[in-house]
Amino acid sequence: MIQMQDICFSYEDAVVLSHFQMEIREGETVILKGPNGCGKSTVLKLMNGLIFPERGTYLFEGKAVTKKTMEDAAFSRDFHRKIGYLFQNADSQLFHNSVEDEIAFALVQMGKEENEIHERVEDMLTLLDIEKLRRRAPYHLSSGEKKKVALASILVANPRVIILDEPISGLDRSAQEWMLDFFAQMKQAGKTIVIATHNEELAKRLGDREIVFGTFF
């Protein structure tokens, strides 16, 4: 499903990835592990087509993801629809003035009918146990609530791949437990999941496979 071959990437003079290879099959849950600054977040951004490698190829469902292909509006929209990306800092993802609008954002863009939008938003609110927050402004929620809203806002588009960057960092124990159970449910549902984490418990409970990064220097 996801193939990265011979990827090289650097920021200014700092080499982050050198001849990096990775393959993720459909339905797999893969854990990306490694110390801070080893390139995990860069790989996640590459996977999401937010940045592009200096060398090497990235194939998603057999199609190359490059700067040029991402300039094609239809390809880029389809690609982003199929990959849901949960940022480490949920604050970055939330910009609407109510939780409902935040979740509905993707569906409105997809041109879904109003009743379908309503139905899916309700499903997400129930699934993530955030019904009470529907009218609240996402900015004023707690970290755990923000994380749930951000997760709902990406799941509502029914992505095939879910990419999670440190999904349980900064959450209290009960919120962590809730998230772990939820991801296990997603895994059972056959979603392809990629998780960048330092958390051993998360890796053990959910991971089918681990990709361990080393520091380049």
Partner: protein, 276 residues
């Protein structure tokens, strides 16, 4: 009860099926262009933040030197002096990296074009010398300031201003402004990245997402300012903002001073020659 709750929170059927969605091919160019423009500005800001010059001369001396040379340039009536300054600037520019050269020249060329347009009547009305001379002076002054801002980090510029006995509160405000521009820029940058990953169709409310981002950034800025103030109070802030002086190399300062002295001598010599 728990079982009921569990059943209620089961994954909905549509989330388990393959999505039947064909994205529209039409570009949502307004949002995309706006995002690209904002992203490129923020990327530039981020890149500038990472750069730190290796010049060992005291920042205050460099700021004073730049202002002094600009004053000499504006007073000079001799084209040879402008020529001399342009040679010196060219040599200095040669020691900059590609990004810095591009940034300096971009600003300078913009200023030259602007002044050239304003001075076109002078050239047409028979004063081509004035046209060339003033445009050259503008080019050199802006290049000089461009080199200074590209090789001197903001924190050193503000600490350099302290040497000119500017009030603490002025420097403090400048420092905090830069700090917030960077932090809020980073927040905007991350939010635009997130927005890009969620742009999976045509947005009917084109500017809605961008105003949302600006709204959150505004709220965040309020929160940040309160947090910074609280943190400063906790660390004993009492309204004064003492700056530590950077250790400058005396040799570099002396060399810089000698250079400035030579420029001054040459200025008076050339003015004397042209008057004679």
């Amino acid at each position: 009860m728990q079982q009921e709750e569990k059943e209620r929170r089961q994954i909905p059927g549509w989330l388990l099926l393959e999505e039947d969605y064909i994205p529209v091919t039409e570009r949502d160019s307004f949002l995309e262009k706006t995002m690209r423009a904002i992203l490129s500005v923020l990327a530039k800001m981020k890149a500038e933040k990472e750069y730190i010059g290796k010049n060992k001369t005291a920042p205050s001396l460099r700021i004073a030197g730049a202002v002094f040379v600009i004053v000499l340039l504006s007073l000079s009536r001799n084209l040879a002096f402008a020529g001399l300054v342009s040679v010196l600037l060219l040599v200095r520019l040669a020691f900059c990296n590609g990004r810095q050269i591009k940034s300096v020249l971009k600003g300078a060329i913009g200023a030259v074009l602007f002044s050239a347009v304003i001075l076109v009547p002078a050239a047409i009305l028979g004063h081509p010398h004035t046209f060339i001379y003033i445009t050259l002076k503008v080019f050199l002054s802006v290049t000089l300031l461009g080199i200074l801002s590209n090789t001197l980090p903001w924190n050193e510029i503000t600490s350099g201003l302290k040497s000119f006995h500017l009030p603490d509160i002025f420097i403090f405000t400048l420092d905090l402004t830069m700090h917030y521009i960077m932090q809020l820029g980073e927040i905007c940058y991350q939010m635009l990245f997130a927005l890009r990953t969620r742009m999976i169709g045509k947005s009917p409310k084109k500017a809605g997402a961008l105003t949302g981002i600006l709204g959150v950034t505004f709220l965040k800025s309020k929160e940040l300012s309160q947090e910074t103030y609280d943190a400063m109070v906790c660390r004993g802030f009492d309204g004064t903002y003492p700056l530590r002086k950077r250790k400058a190399s005396p040799a570099a300062n002396i060399c810089y001073g000698i250079g400035l002295l030579l420029i001054t001598v040459l200025f008076f010599y050339l003015e004397h020659v042209s008057a004679g």
